[in-house]
Amino acid sequence: MNSEELQQIAEAVRLEHEKYDYEINVCMGAGCLAQHSDKFKDALAKEVESSGKRCHVRSAGCLGLCAAGPLALVDPIEVRYGHLRESDAKEVIASLGGKPVERLEMHLENYFQGQQHVVLENCGRIDPEKIEEYISRGGYEALLKALTEMDPQGVIDQIAKSGLRGRGGGGYPTGLKWGTVAKAVGSPKYVICNGDEGDPGAFMDRSVLEGDPQRVIEGMVIAAYAVGATKGYIYVRAEYPLAVSRFSASLREARRHGFLGANICGTPLLFDIEIRLGAGAFVCGEETALIASIEGKRGTPRTRPPYPAVSGLWNCPTLINNVETFANVAPILRNGAEWFAGMGTAHSKGTKVFALTGKITNTGLVEIPMGMPLREIIFSIGGGVPDGHKFKAVQTGGPSGGCLPEEHLDLNISYDALIGAGSMMGSGGMIVMDDTSCMVNVARFFVEFCMTESCGKCIPCRAGTAQMFGLLSKICNGEASHQDLDLLIDLCDVVKNTSLCGLGQTAPNPVLSTLRYFRDEYLEHIDHHRCPAGVCACNARTPKAELAEVTV
């Protein structure tokens, strides 16, 4: 494959598009499919045929607003429809050329205003299983540029200059990591893509894998060239069957076009990718556990150093990055490091995809430039808290993160600002809570998650989270004393500072952050046996209720 051939493919796609006046992109992501978007698409295709309109119906990836699915986007008029049913197909097709169907149309100016799509630029715009459509939107230009115009160090320099940091949670500078692997002695070298995505409420990586898989493959091949790897793995959780099937279809397509295998793009580069399925353990997203799992061992983390960059898969130098990290690579090389570094804050560059969920009007995927205030994401893009309820907290960073209250809503999203406020960027889950959520109960939920997902290897995480869960349950039930609270705080300190891996080290964060901002709710449970939000069943234990029991 050379650049003329790439252009020929793009040109062919363009000519094909010219045959149509309209293109309707129907979301075939897991969320919309679950609401039978495939049936709607089939009905649409039938209608097109019988109506004779020059319209193309495309199976596309995630369109963002997952809760309003099934979704469709009509090009070029940029009309978006939601909550589509099979029976709506006729009306949608009939409206083409006239006024959009008012009943189905979604008015989402605020939702898109302020968003900036880099990772999601193709999501919902292309058929993820057609490599030609990816190529027609600039796909594989970056790989070709890297292979023909740049040496491996040049690629690493560009990534470093862009300021890209790992999107899997830790925020480690990607260029620095690539440089370490490139310099590490030992062969073969491996590239691993972390698609385990275990945070509750997170689905960014799934949407990218389902909606634009070639982008991840291109990023991985560029990484392989930069660090000198010959073999790649993508570790995807088995709960993502659609992502797995799309990705494996995409691997075949990429091989067929010479982007994987021997002599990639006619150069000496040799690299191929294999898929490994995770069996649903959250801890297998931790890099050393993930590597153990690929090796066929029990998925437990090990102490670092040595870091995977020096000794990873089968003790060989291994580059491991998140799906979204790889998805940023091609645009950086295509548009230049300066372009990327032009977005975001001083130390957090580019954009970040968030999965906006919870008590929020617009549930779905959003991609925003780093540095955007939380308030804008929640109240402008997200449309605020529905049903007249009051905003209470936003949870970021998954089970490792924390809950931030109203007074932190003007915080500009960046790795460091979130940590400073007691939360974390994490992989991009963002759960909004309103006045119907009890913050003690929320902390208990996340600690329970960490308790059941702890691998059991080190004592503080294994037994500490279980004891923390017991104490939190006691508080929720209105049975705890101040000594229990002190003990809980003490355990948080021990588990945080003595656990072996990130799971245990961050498991206390939801407790610590809710204690920092919502201590009064803890005290209400303890002193007055009352749950202010009315969630916990401790009301039954109020002295009055006890009295009633006695008199009966």
Binding site: S454, C455, G456, C458, I459, P460, R462, Q467, V494, T498
Partner: protein
């Protein structure tokens, strides 16, 4: 081998010590009679860094490091004993005592138990946490040995000695988190497993979890010191 390239000098608890560059802080501390508590570590087995009792402080870092896997570095200043470390070690021991069932008075290993000894060394006088007391099985199916899971602290010494020294890999870990259990084969009874009856796991078990049936009611000392000796003899062959 010239000594100058190989030797590192560091400070442990204010004492200047020298070490080979491949040594861990734990090795060097022990050589210099500085006591650091350990449970999962056992000389002769691979390290897992799991019990977290050996955590030490390094001057200039807010993080704690497990001495058993921490390689020495030139100029490193290690602190193995502080109020903070003592508190963490005591709490970890409390977590262990509360996790299953460690009532010393009725345990075969009473007086010969590493958990008991370390708790004493760390001046642990009481446990603040509620005892979980799960009802776990006692496997008596083996003709010579028994496994009382209520006494197990999941140090995985049995797993490692069986796989790394005996080469049988009969023991492994099942389940996760607080439900983790050591098992023989695919959770078969020990007596009908592929156990070679060598007894190494019993000797390395720090508590009364794995024991010799013939020792019940009498003193049951264990002798894990055979491991370094065995490894040495094998290397020489």
């Amino acid at each position: 081998m010239s000594a100058s390239v190989d030797v590192k000098t560091l400070v442990i608890d204010g004492v200047d010590v020298s070490a080979r560059q491949d040594q861990t802080v734990l090795d060097v501390a022990r050589e210099n009679n500085i006591f650091i508590p350990t449970l999962c570590h056992l000389e002769g087995l691979s390290e897992v860094g799991a019990c977290r009792l050996c955590l030490v402080e390094i001057k200039g870092s807010p993080k704690l490091f497990p001495a058993c896997v921490l390689k020495v570095e030139e100029g490193m200043e290690v602190i193995t004993h502080s109020e903070r470390l003592l508190h963490y070690r005591q709490t970890i021991l409390e977590l262990l005592f509360a996790e299953r069932n460690h009532v010393c008075a009725v345990c075969v290993a009473n007086g010969n138990c590493e958990l008991q000894t370390i708790a004493q060394s760390q001046r642990l006088t009481h446990v603040r946490l509620p005892y979980r007391n799960p009802k776990l099985p006692v496997d008596l199916s083996h003709e010579r040995f028994a496994a009382d899971h209520n006494r197990c602290i999941l140090c995985t010494r049995c797993v490692r000695v069986c796989a790394e020294i005996e080469g049988a890999h009969v023991w492994d870990v099942m389940g996760r988190g607080i439900d983790s259990m050591v098992i023989t084969d695919l959770n078969d009874p020990w007596g009908s497993s592929s156990c070679t009856r060598c007894g190494k796991c019993v000797q390395v078990c720090p508590t009364g979890a794995l024991f010799d049936k013939s020792k019940v009611g009498v003193s049951h000392p264990k002798s894990p010191e055979f491991l370094p000796y065995l490894n040495l003899m094998r290397e020489e062959q």
